[in-house]
């Protein structure tokens, strides 16, 4: 057994890969559960050994995919503090925010099996279990949330740490898909109420998911 640290090559990438994959699943699922899009465009798939819903609308998928592709470098560098899926009403006022708060331990170390020189399976399966739990929480979150008004849209926000924004402007992962600073309107929610959904703590990442919900959704 040897130990990998964050400094070791592509360790951040591993974490980012895992997280982005998860986020993609989660976003699709949120869109389904919160009925942002008609359920007709969703297909049932299996991920983390649980059923999930995934959109089959190519443009939507592309959008989500591109977004996460841009998020990935941030996660790699541990620059992303929160990834937020914001569901907004017709006036573009947020009604719900699904906040994935990500923190990676500063000193990451993973045991690696020398024989396979791969991150040990137990670790991965542990992480998968945790992620599965989060997914399950998402799929039942409608139980604790009010119904959204019709005609909602969604957007993805990233809260970065410190100077990450500047770097992002320099390095555009995808051409013509730049990050922009979020409107205050999109970020700010009146009378938010916070509903914690799930916290997962693993060796490589600590993530908690909570929902902020506008108190008066109808208005």
């Amino acid at each position: 057994m040897t130990t990998l640290t964050r400094q070791d090559l592509n360790f951040g990438q591993v974490v980012a890969d895992i997280l982005c994959e998860f986020l993609e699943v989660a976003i699709h699922l949120i869109l389904y559960v919160r009925e942002v899009y008609p359920s007709g465009i969703f297909q049932k798939r299996k991920k983390y050994n649980v059923p999930v819903q995934m959109s089959c609308h190519p443009e939507l998928n592309q959008y989500i995919h591109d977004t996460l592709h841009c998020v990935k470098p941030l996660i790699e560098k541990n620059d992303a503090e929160k990834v937020v899926v914001v569901i907004m009403d017709k006036e573009h006022h947020p009604v719900e925010r699904f906040v994935f708060e990500i923190s990676q331990p500063p000193l990451l170390s993973i045991r690696v099996d020398n024989n396979t020189s791969a991150i040990s399976d137990t670790l991965l399966s542990h992480v998968e279990q945790l992620l599965r739990a989060v997914i399950l929480k998402i799929s039942v979150c409608d139980a604790v949330l009010e119904n959204n008004p019709p005609g909602c849209t969604f957007t993805v926000l990233v809260h970065t740490r410190e100077a990450a924004t500047r770097n992002m402007e320099k390095v555009q992962v995808i051409k013509d898909f730049p990050w922009i600073v979020a409107d205050e309107q999109e970020v700010h929610m009146q009378e938010p109420r916070l509903i914690p959904l799930k916290t997962m703590t693993s060796d490589i990442v600590k993530m908690q998911l909570y929902v902020e919900e506008r108190a008066q959704k109808a208005s």
Partner: protein, 1444 residues
């Protein structure tokens, strides 16, 4: 994303821009004080001189001698001492050690070791500082990095200069060279074209020009005495070279300036002049000469060609080569110059040639190819310079003549130069005209150029050719000079051949022809240097931002604040005088009884007179000086007696200009509102300690006070008080109330003298004194009166007479049967009176007093009482104890209940336990960035560490107190640098173990800080408090206690150097009662040994005598710390004087011996465990977590777990603990027993040798320490909990119950490797450690501190928590507040830990539990918890939990 914007500095609109003005005022005030003090010092100390005339030092950090001493020395010997570092005025920075960052910052300053001063004094003249430079590279070949700015426009250039780009010395050289090398093909180019490319170049020039001549002179002066420094640095060389050609400014660093100036000159000269200007040319040449050794550089007729590398006209591409070449050459030259006088000369010459090449080049690296014209121009002048040199006796130079031709060419090039910004500067243009060819100068420099220069030196306008040299000098003298960092190459100064070469003296230097020189020659050398500083771009920030950034960033800021804050000094006097009293006590014990002259005298008087009735049984005297600060201030000014006088810093009419960003009106309203709500409580009397910030007096202010002085009145005379003036009022207001009010400046020296005199007076009667402040003390004179048979009045009047005679100031004395009454009596006694409050009068007396006059009843409590309808003590007496306790808590209620009846059982304590150690700064706190705040907090933590360690304490609870600008309050308060209207927030955390480590505290505090989510810009004050101190726990107060501990305390507090040794001793005696559990029983078994041991032989308790004995390896710092907690220490057998032991009563002796044997067993026990497990130091590092299994050892033995360093000499531990020698108070040192002194000395000397080792050790120790202490502490604490929790609480609350091993921390102890259970440091260590990991630790420690998982009473698993909560709710009918708070704390921790899910579950669970409970109290408790949690959630996430 939005966060980014916040970080931008908006220094312009925050009103802070005027800081410069404030600081200037403050600095000038300090200077004034210094000047005032100087004669005083000189009087005191006959020996004075003016060795240091023109030298202004700034002391950074610890030095030996101390800063104070240095200040005194500077006073004595004609120098200046700057409290605040000023780039423009400070000439030397004195320090013994600088952090790297500072070295970078001060790179171009003269950073000198303090020995320079002492040695200079010894030598009787100013020695060259070069030998004493702190770090050798200091003045090395660093050139202002021109290259950075190349692209900038001319306008920007000047600005650019100010910014530091020194970092690349070599490149800059290179740059220079290329320029020179380039032949100037296009001399004829239009100036305009040159402008832009030159810009960077121009920058350099400007810098150089300004500083040059002046600096050289002062420096050279220094250098002269010791020409033979062997320092390799260019700067060093210079001195010697100077001898050869005194005229030149040799100081190589500075000389560079000269060079630059020259180019400027050149442009001005019309082509026709070309031949004429030796002056201009020369300066360059000399500089070069310094550097060069004769050998390498044959004298070439023309610079360009002479050097293989340089000579060839090279394109810019070839620069790199040049660089290398030049660099090498430089070194070489330097060495050469050192070698011999002759060589020097030759070197000079050579240098000249080269110099031509190098110096000018330095300016421009990249540009070279593109700017041929410029380079040419430079080169030519250089050549011209060579000529003059040739004249000087220089064998090596083959021919001067070649230069001349060049010179002419320069003439052609001259036109080009003006294009460069340098030429623009009026200075340059002037000098050439003046010196060399005043008549000749037909063409005034182009005006456009001037503006740049003007920025630097405002006043200088391009003058028509000045008629005389002298005029020019006069004109120039006033202009500010900017010195460039030391550059070997530049040397403009030797323009005039006749003077420079032969004349060794600096004084001659003024003769220099170059205009630049003239500038340089300001009458006062100091100003020059200051300019230098400003020029040094170490800080990229603009000047006004400097203060800020420096404030927040520099490491020393906080300690600087404290060391400079005079008010802080006063506040520390109290502890100083406490120490004084302690010393008295111990001295008396040491001498077997003290002499009390006052008492004796009184006794005699008594005998003569008839004896009066004996006084009350117990009598406390409260002695308080009458308006201390005023009476001290006017004691030598009888004219002010009887007039309204106030002590304040403001001397003016009480008005100051209003600063922008200030909304005074708003603040006044705020305070008024607040004030009226709180109810008026103006204290009638008291001096400085009552000086509060703005709040207390604002009610008096009128709305039109917008521009009144905000200087606070520290103290005012009774006459002034009659007019309504109050202490703490702002002077401006006071002046309105009382127009005849006179102000008196602070005189801290005098305060101290008078205060000391007062204490001495008191001490001449008795030693039972409690110091309350510098002017106030409590005296327990019960015994004294009984002995004398005197009445309190007699004693009081005797004391008052004494005090008046000795100090010239009056004191009032209040007498009562307890402290409370004595203090209240003093109020009646004032001014200048005495009053005995007899017990029979107490009731009537106290009834009419306002409640707020009771000690401990402040405004807020007063308001609360008022809301109960209680205003006077009489009212308070009507309130039942229960009600009071309900309102104010059990303890406060009790106290109030007693106080209002005049009951007070507090004893007069000549020594006090500290309850907390804190450091706070709410002045001048302005951050723009989170980093600044963090580093500030770190620094503040270090300050706290200093204080903790100074007091020998360690604390467990940290409280961060923050003042945040109230929303809507003006950004800038009307008091300069003040905090304005603020919200006060506090947050605290309890650490796993006690600590005094600043780093640990810092990281915790930063965590706290972040959890508060504040806008750093709005921070106005930050305070850090450490409570739950360990020293305090271990030794509960007992009346006879002070004596038993006082020596140690004295040592701890007064003698930092020996403190550790001493504690080592104590520590190294293994103690029998090490477990807290056993504590009680053992204390019963072994009576406090010191108290018993000491009396027989006073020398005994100073175990230092045996200190040097090789001690068992247990002696390590860790050991010491832990040991300090133990309340009972039995010295080890080796340290106990056998005879003393024998003299002890049999039982006692037996006990002591038993403890020894016990200890012996323990030691062997531990030893068996330890020896094997203590690894080699290196292995310690890699596996720091290998402590022996704690379970096997009694808790108390944790000390022994500290891994020893087998390889180290036993003394290493001690050595590490010694403070810097400079901090040792010499007096204290002298007062030590001789052996102790010797030991200390040898320890210090040994430390010198062991230093390297020690450093390594120190690096290792923190880790070890952390862990070891942690383990011990945790365990200890829990044990304590079991035994100490009050009987009432015990058993009632499951939260406090010891937890089943499964959840309890005890379990964690058994698995020290489990990261979460231990402190941060531990966690880091515990990771599978690779060496790379280790290195990361320090940084990561401060930045991210992995937090331990929050626990509720030791439980962190949700099921455990649930069980715990259920038990709590079901078994207890009424929850204790403490437990509720604990739950809240746990929830808060969960939020911080970002574990909202668990929080949610816990809350929901509690909700179910508590709301189902029959007791409505539980519902309320839940609401309380929920409210608190919601607040925190709101703060953290901006939203509240949805509880369904």
């Amino acid at each position: 994303m939005s966060r980014d914007g916040r970080r931008k500095r908006d220094r312009d609109d925050n009103g802070w821009a005027s800081m410069g003005g404030y600081m200037a005022a403050k600095v000038s005030k300090l200077d004034e004080q210094f000047k005032m003090d100087a004669p005083r010092e000189k009087q005191k100390d006959g020996a004075c001189s003016s060795i240091f005339a023109g030298v202004a030092i700034y002391v950074n950090g610890y030095t030996d001698p101390s800063a104070d001493e240095l200040r005194r020395l500077m006073m004595l010997h004609g120098g200046l001492f700057h409290m605040y570092y000023s780039r423009s005025k400070t000439t030397h920075i004195i320090t013994t050690n600088l952090p790297n960052s500072k070295i970078q910052e001060l790179r171009d300053q003269k950073v000198v070791r303090p020995e320079w001063i002492t040695d200079s004094i010894k030598a009787g003249h100013l020695l060259s500082y070069l030998q004493y430079q702190l770090y050798a590279k200091q003045k090395g070949l660093t050139f202002p990095s021109v290259c950075v700015r190349q692209g900038q426009e001319a306008a920007g250039l000047i600005h650019g200069q100010t910014q530091p780009s020194h970092s690349l010395p070599v490149p800059s050289l290179n740059n220079l060279i290329p320029v020179l090398n380039n032949p100037s093909p296009s001399l004829g180019k239009p100036l305009s074209s040159h402008h832009t490319p030159i810009s960077s170049h121009s920058i350099l020039h400007i810098d150089n020009l300004l500083p040059q001549p002046n600096q050289c002179n002062p420096l050279s002066g220094d250098l002269n005495p010791q020409p033979s420094h062997s320092l390799p640095l260019a700067s060093h060389l210079n001195p010697q070279s100077r001898h050869f050609s005194p005229g030149h400014c040799f100081l190589s660093p500075y000389s560079s300036n000269h060079l630059y100036s020259d180019p400027g000159h050149i442009p001005h000269h019309p082509p026709s002049q070309g031949q004429a200007k030796p002056g201009c040319i020369q300066p360059l040449a000399p500089a070069d000469t310094h550097l060069q050794t004769p050998g390498p550089i044959p004298a070439h007729p023309s610079h360009e060609h002479s050097k293989p590398g340089h000579a060839q006209p090279q394109s810019s591409l070839s620069f790199s080569n040049h660089l290398q070449h030049s660099y090498r050459d430089l070194d070489f030259r330097l060495n050469g110059s050192l070698l011999t006088y002759d060589k020097m000369r030759t070197a000079q010459i050579n240098w000249v040639q080269e110099g031509g090449g190098e110096d000018p080049c330095s300016v421009r690296p990249t540009r070279g190819a593109t700017d041929p014209p410029l380079t040419n121009g430079h080169a030519h002048p250089v050549n011209g310079a060579l000529k003059p040199l040739d004249l000087s006796p220089n064998p090596t130079l083959p021919t001067d003549t070649p230069l001349n031709p060049d010179r002419k060419s320069t003439g052609g090039s001259v036109s080009l130069h003006p294009a460069s910004p340098l030429s623009n500067s009026p200075l340059k243009s002037d000098p050439p005209k003046l010196l060399h060819s005043p008549p000749r100068n037909p063409t005034p420099p182009p005006v456009s150029h001037h503006r740049h220069h003007e920025q630097l030196a405002n006043e200088q306008q391009p003058k028509p050719p000045p008629p005389t040299y002298q005029e020019a000098t006069a004109a120039l003298a006033s202009r500010p000079l900017v010195l460039s960092p030391p550059k070997p190459r530049q040397s403009d100064s030797p323009p005039e051949k006749p003077l420079p070469l032969d004349n060794p003296n600096r004084s001659t230097s003024p003769v220099r022809l170059n205009g630049s020189h003239h500038n340089a020659f300001t009458p006062n050398p100091a100003p020059l240097e200051t300019n230098n500083l400003s020029a040094i771009p170490s800080n990229p920030a603009t000047p006004d931002s400097d203060h800020q950034s420096v404030l927040a960033k520099t490491g020393g800021i906080i300690s600087e604040f404290y060391s400079h804050s005079r008010l802080h000094h006063i506040s520390t006097w109290r502890s100083e005088f406490s120490e004084y009293v302690n010393t008295l006590q111990s001295r008396r014990r040491a001498t077997g009884g003290a002499t009390f002259p006052g008492r004796d005298r009184l006794k005699r008087q008594r005998r003569e007179g008839s004896s009066a009735a004996p006084g009350p049984q117990s009598c406390i005297l409260h002695v308080d000086m009458d308006c201390f600060f005023v009476s001290v201030g006017i004691r030598h000014r009888p004219d002010l007696k009887g007039k309204p006088v106030a002590v304040t810093s403001n001397r003016g009419p009480g008005r100051v200009a209003q600063r922008p960003g200030v909304d005074r009106q708003l603040e006044l309203q705020y305070y008024q509102r607040k004030y009226s709500h709180a109810g008026v409580s103006e204290r009638k009397d008291g001096d400085l300690e009552e000086m509060t910030s703005a709040e207390s007096h604002v009610s008096h202010s009128h709305p039109d006070t917008t521009c009144l002085s905000m200087a606070e009145i520290a103290s005012c005379s009774y006459e002034a008080r009659q007019a309504g003036v109050r202490n703490g009022m702002f002077f401006g207001q006071a002046k309105q109330l009382c127009p005849s009010l006179q102000s008196v400046p602070y005189d801290f020296q005098a305060y101290k003298e008078v205060a000391l005199a007062m204490y001495e007076t008191l001490a001449s009667y008795t030693h039972n004194i409690e110091a309350l402040s510098c002017d106030e003390a409590l005296v327990d004179c019960s015994a004294l009166l009984a002995e004398l048979g005197a009445t309190p009045e007699e004693l009081a009047s005797a004391i008052r007479t004494d005090v008046r005679e000795r100090t010239g100031c009056t004191a009032s004395v209040g007498m009562g049967s307890n402290i409370l009454l004595a203090r209240m009596a003093t109020r009646k006694a004032k001014p200048d009176g005495q009053y005995l409050l007899r017990s029979e009068e107490v009731d009537d007396f106290i009834r009419d007093h306002r409640v707020t006059s009771l000690p401990g009843v402040g405004r807020s409590m007063g308001a609360k009482l008022a809301s109960l309808g209680v205003r006077s003590c009489g009212d308070l007496q009507q309130v039942s104890l229960q009600q009071l306790q309900k309102e104010f808590g059990p303890r406060t209620g009790q106290t109030l209940f007693r106080f209002c009846r005049g009951l007070d059982d507090r004893p007069v304590r000549s020594e006090k336990e500290r309850k907390s150690v804190s450091a706070e700064m709410n002045y001048n706190v302005r951050f723009t960035q989170v980093d600044e705040a963090e580093s500030f907090l770190t620094n503040l933590s270090m300050e706290v560490q200093k204080r903790l360690q100074g007091a020998g304490l360690r604390g467990r609870r940290l409280t961060l107190k923050v003042m945040v600008r109230k929303v809507g309050a003006p950004v800038e308060p009307s008091k300069y640098g003040g905090h304005g209207i603020c919200d006060n927030l506090a947050r605290s955390v309890t650490l796993a173990q006690s600590t005094d480590s600043g780093q640990l505290i810092g990281s915790e505090v930063i965590k706290l800080f972040h959890s508060m989510r504040l806008e750093v810009q709005d921070l106005r004050g930050v305070g850090l408090q450490v409570q739950l101190l360990d020293g305090a726990h271990s030794a509960p107060y007992d009346p006879s206690g002070p004596k038993t501990r006082s020596i140690r305390d004295m040592l701890l507090a007064q003698r930092p150097p020996t403190q550790h040794n001493h504690t080592d001793l104590l520590a190294d005696a293994p103690v029998a009662d090490s477990t807290t559990n056993q504590g009680k029983s053992s204390s019963a078994r072994v009576p406090p040994p010191f108290s018993t041991l000491r009396p027989p032989s006073p020398a005994d308790p100073i175990p230092g005598t045996s200190k040097e004995e090789p001690l068992p390896s247990t002696r390590t710092p860790n050991h010491v710390r832990t040991r300090l907690n133990l309340s009972i220490e039995v010295p080890s057998p080796s340290q106990v004087d056998r005879s003393v032991l024998d003299a002890l009563p049999a039982e006692l002796r037996e006990q002591v011996e038993r403890s020894w044997t016990h200890r012996e067993k323990e030691r062997s026990h531990n030893g068996s465990h330890h020896r094997p497990s203590t690894p080699h130091p290196s292995s310690l590092l890699s596996s720091p977590s290998s402590p022996p299994t704690p379970a096997a050892l009694p808790v108390g033995t944790l000390v022994l777990q500290i891994p020893n360093q087998p390889g180290q000499p036993g003394s290493t531990g001690i050595i590490l603990e010694l403070p810097d020698f400079s901090q040792v108070d010499p007096e204290v040192f002298a007062a030590l027993p001789r052996e102790l002194q010797e030991e200390l000395r040898s320890a210090y000397s040994r430390r010198e040798t062991a230093q390297a080792q020690g450093i390594i050790m120190e690096q290792r120790n923190p880790l070890l320490q952390l862990k070891q202490v942690g383990v011990g502490r945790v365990k200890r604490r829990y044990k304590k909990k079991n035994t100490n929790s009050s009987p009432i609480k015990k058993g009632l609350s499951p939260l406090k119950r010891p937890h089943p091993p499964g959840n309890s921390p005890a379990k964690a102890l058994q698995h020290p490797l489990r990261p979460r259970d231990l402190s941060n440091g531990l966690k880091l260590e515990n990771g599978p450690s690779t060496s790379s990991l280790k290195q990361d630790v320090p940084e990561t420690l401060s930045k991210f501190t992995p937090r331990p998982e929050p626990t509720l009473a030791g439980a962190c698993d949700f099921t455990d928590i649930r069980t715990l909560l259920r038990e709590w709710v079901t078994t207890i009918s009424e929850p204790m507040e403490e437990d509720i708070l604990q739950v809240v704390k746990y929830c808060t921790d969960l939020i911080e830990d970002k574990d909202l899910e668990k929080l949610d579950l816990v809350i929901k669970y509690m909700k179910r539990l508590m709301q189902q409970s029959v007791e409505s109290v539980w519902s309320m408790a839940f609401d309380f918890i929920l409210d608190n949690v919601q607040v925190v959630v709101q703060q953290t996430y901006g939203s509240t939990l949805k509880i369904t």
